[in-house]
């Protein structure tokens, strides 16, 4: 079971990233429960998605004790936070459990899990794909329920005409984590 928060501001593709992870989970036979932000907040306000992935429940016959029932993640319970915007970490960081990991898109901060995804996306000529750069970066650390190739398979189904650029952005993110993974992380 894994609980993931995806947070950003309206227009950054929070819903798309969440959908991508959810479809990947479904592909792998997991059951998913998501809560999304719609409406006025999508006009540039803080947007948050809650994604709960459980091994159980997809095909029924699962005891209620081993699956999710609520669409929301409680503060201090998320395993992973994907912050598509530096503000997103400040506003929604409290959802992370003490040993949870936040992958943050930020141009001005440093840390093992912080990446200037916006800059990388811009260099690729697709500034709107910074969400996929950050997702690739995060997935590259192998902390998710799914692997890099699992996500790429689903991306191929959902990216439509933007597939090539999307894959490029996703892989550029993966490459970034690849270079960091082998360096011992300072606390």
């Amino acid at each position: 079971m894994q609980q993931i928060i995806v947070s950003g501001i309206g227009g950054q593709g929070v819903l798309f990233v969440t959908r991508l992870l959810a479809e990947t989970a479904l592909d792998r036979g997991y059951s998913v429960f998501i809560s999304e932000t719609h409406g006025m907040a999508q006009r540039g306000g803080n947007v948050i998605s809650h994604l709960k992935v459980s091994r159980c429940g997809a095909h029924g016959g699962c005891p209620p004790e081993s699956t999710f029932h609520s669409p929301l993640i409680r503060p201090g319970r998320a395993d992973i936070l994907l912050a598509l915007h530096p503000d997103a970490y400040r506003v929604h960081g409290y959802y992370l459990k003490p040993d949870g990991i936040a992958y943050v898109n930020s141009p001005s901060e440093n840390g093992p899990f912080i990446l200037d995804a916006g800059k990388i996306a811009e260099e690729l000529g697709t500034p709107v794909a910074s969400n996929l750069v950050l997702l690739g970066f995060a997935i590259g650390f192998d902390e998710f329920f799914c692997s890099r190739s699992d996500v790429e398979m689903v991306l191929a189904k959902f990216a439509g005409s933007r597939l090539e650029l999307s894959l490029k952005a996703f892989r550029a993110g993966c490459a970034e984590s690849g270079t960091r993974k082998h360096v011992p992380l300072s606390p």
């Binding site: 501001i9 309206g10 227009g11 959908r19 959810a22 479809e23 479904l26 059951s31 998913v32 429960f33 998501i34 809560s35 999304e36 932000t37 719609h38 409406g39 006025m40 907040a41 999508q42 006009r43 540039g44 306000g45 803080n46 997809a58 209620p64 004790e65 999710f68 029932h69 609520s70 669409p71 929301l72 409680r74 503060p75 201090g76 503000d87 400040r90 506003v91 960081g93 409290y94 811009e122 500034p127 709107v128």
Partner: protein
């Protein structure tokens, strides 16, 4: 053959409607209900179904159209958000009396929080007031099942049935099996029965008695009675109650889903009975009686008002919103419910950290939004004006100081009239009054308000912000489109013609991107409102929404440059608030975010120092 898909709660409703053989669905868009009808449109086109679908002009009309279909024995649904139900309350109350023939489901989506609404009102109370049953789903999977239950119940008792999801059900997604749809080609049969369909007050009394009988039968239907959720764990578990009293939890809707997870985690799952109320009204009398006699303390957790709680009459035993055990406003988030449960069952307090006390980002109009340009001109044309506003994206004119009131759909126009009459009646000179309303909201509720304002002799400027779509809720078409949802050509409504037909003599169209001309137009409109033979003056500020993918917006795109005259006064940021203009700190020149800038060029005329320049970009 079935298939497994991840469906949004609202998509699950659409699937449920089609799986149950619904032949007509009508709606007016509103968060959190909007995606139900748009999903139906997609499924209709994909599967070649014959169901009639429409975005009606408002919820009252939507209700009446779908009801007629039900009168003819065909399953029908009307879909709206909770404040839309207020608009449809008139036909709702009356149709409870007339009853229905084909199953009739009223989907009214509530918005505890509220996230995207004027109120946190509980539609279940409206169902209670109308004396119709209401079902309260706990998850997207469950709501799909409940659509079928609602249709069966409605048909069996010939009564409208309400389905009341909340935002966290509408906008949650779950994987579930989906099934192919049966396209029901049911012949419409209208059996004349004036004593029922056109009942006079005398027959209305008869209908009321019949309604009471229906309700009583529904209340006694054991299949709809509250059920014990954790029966098995209670039997195998160790009911070593921490206190000597007999306690249970009663819940419904998404609150129940949160509670399940929490009770498992807090070790209450095999100790404390948890009852799910699928149908909060009418609440099963035998459930009320057995619960009150079997338990000493009953904790009721429901959203948003105490509907179940009030029906459990022995208040000394019942804990909930009325006793202050559950907060009486705001959404019930799982962390809040955790605190309630810990308090009620005397468990140690949670050690989770509190959310940081920092303001989130407020929503803003998009970069290049034509509304922003219009609001800037309005403030400039009527500096000391009163600005009644309305419901839509353009409510965000608040950020620009160009919206003073927001009440409900269409109220901008009636408010403007009321403000004017107040000054006139007290023989005061009136300040400029400039109301704003969007095109879809104008069609929905503005027209009647405008007719009234005209015939009462009000004087003000009305700016109709016409972006050709219902933008906030996801770009649903307006009556100006000239096509129905089947793509057939239908007459297109002209705002100019309607405004003129309402009796307004001064109607001018303007392009909000042309700041100087719009300003001039607004000033002339203001003069007309004050002139001897003047009256209401309407300015139609017309530009398609930039986010509307159905309409490829084309205009000469400018490349904006900040020149050396910018001293970082931040006038543009404070007065224009375009997300593409970014402050760089005190006395530092502003920066243009090229990824956000739409190239509309309006900011060039906003800067009082001429520090923003536009060049046509290739």
């Amino acid at each position: 053959m079935s298939d497994r898909k991840i469906l949004l709660g609202n998509e699950a409703i659409a699937h449920g409607l089609l799986e149950s053989g619904c032949t007509m669905a009508t709606s007016y868009p509103g968060t959190p209900a909007s995606e139900v009808l748009s999903t139906l449109v997609q499924l209709k086109n994909a599967c070649g179904l014959s169901i009639h679908l429409e975005w009606s002009i408002n919820e009252k009309v939507a209700y009446e159209v779908a009801l007629a279909n039900s009168y003819m024995g065909r399953r029908s649904a009307v879909v709206m958000k909770q404040v839309g139900l207020n608009v449809a309350t008139d036909p709702l109350m009356s149709s409870a009396y007339t009853g229905v023939r084909g199953g009739f489901v009223v989907v009214s989506a509530d918005d505890p929080g509220p996230h995207s609404s004027q109120t946190e009102q509980d539609s279940r109370f409206t169902a209670m007031m109308a004396k119709i049953p209401v079902l309260d789903p706990a998850s997207p999977r469950e709501i799909r099942e409940l659509v079928r239950v609602a249709f069966d119940l409605s048909e069996q008792h010939e009564i409208p049935v309400m389905l009341r999801p909340t935002t966290r059900v509408c906008h949650a997604r779950q994987d579930m099996e989906v099934f192919p749809f049966a396209d029901r080609k049911l012949f419409p049969l209208f059996e004349k029965n004036p004593a029922r369909w056109a009942a006079t007050p005398k027959f209305r009394l008869v209908l009321h008695r019949q309604l009471n009988e229906k309700l009583s039968r529904i209340e006694q239907d054991s299949t709809l009675a509250p059920r014990l959720v954790n029966d098995a764990p209670l039997r195998t578990g160790n009911p070593s109650r921490s206190r000597g009293d007999k306690t249970c939890v009663v819940s419904s809707g998404v609150a129940l889903s949160h509670i399940k997870e929490l009770m498992i985690e807090l070790g209450l799952w095999d100790r404390v009975p948890l009852f799910q109320v699928m149908m909060p009204f009418p609440l099963s009398r035998s459930f009320i009686e057995t619960t009150l006699s079997n338990y000493d303390r009953i904790l009721v957790i429901e959203e948003t008002y105490p509907v179940i709680e009030l029906q459990l009459r022995l208040q000394a035993k019942v804990f909930g919103r009325l006793t202050g055990t559950v907060p009486s406003a705001g959404e019930l988030l799982p962390e809040g419910i955790e605190d309630i449960l810990r308090g009620f069952f005397l468990l140690p307090e949670s050690d989770r950290s509190a959310p940081p006390d920092i303001p989130g980002r407020r929503p803003t109009l998009c970069a290049g939004c034509p509304h922003r340009a219009a609001f800037f001109a309005i403030k400039k044309a009527f500096p000391k004006g009163i600005y009644p506003g309305d419901i839509g994206c353009y409510t965000l004119g608040l950020n620009l100081g160009a919206v003073d009131t927001v009440l409900c759909m269409g109220a901008s126009i009636s408010h403007a009239a009321g403000f004017y009459h107040a000054f006139k009646a007290s023989r005061e000179d009136f300040p400029p009054i400039c109301a704003t309303i969007g095109d879809s909201t104008f069609f929905h509720s503005g027209v009647t308000a405008l007719m009234n304002a005209v015939v009462q002799g009000a004087r003000f400027v009305l700016v109709i912000l016409d972006n050709g779509t219902t933008a906030m809720t996801g770009h649903q078409p307006t009556p100006a489109r000239g096509r129905n949802l089947d793509g057939e050509a239908v007459p297109s409504l002209s705002i100019e013609e309607i405004v003129k037909a309402c009796g307004v003599r001064s109607v001018v169209e303007a392009d909000p991107y042309d700041t100087e001309r719009l300003l001039q137009t607004l000033r002339e409109a203001g003069d007309h409102a004050r002139s001897a033979d003047g009256g209401i003056s309407v300015v139609i500020s017309r530009r398609p929404c930039l986010m509307d993918r159905n309409r490829a917006g084309s205009w000469p795109k400018f490349e904006i440059r900040v020149n050396e005259k910018c001293r970082g006064c931040d006038f543009c940021i404070k007065q224009f608030e375009c997300p593409a203009l970014q402050a760089q700190g005190e006395k530092e020149p502003v920066r243009i975010d090229r990824n956000l800038c739409s190239g509309c060029g309006v900011c060039v005329s906003v800067c009082p120092h001429g520090a923003l320049e536009a060049a046509l970009s290739g």
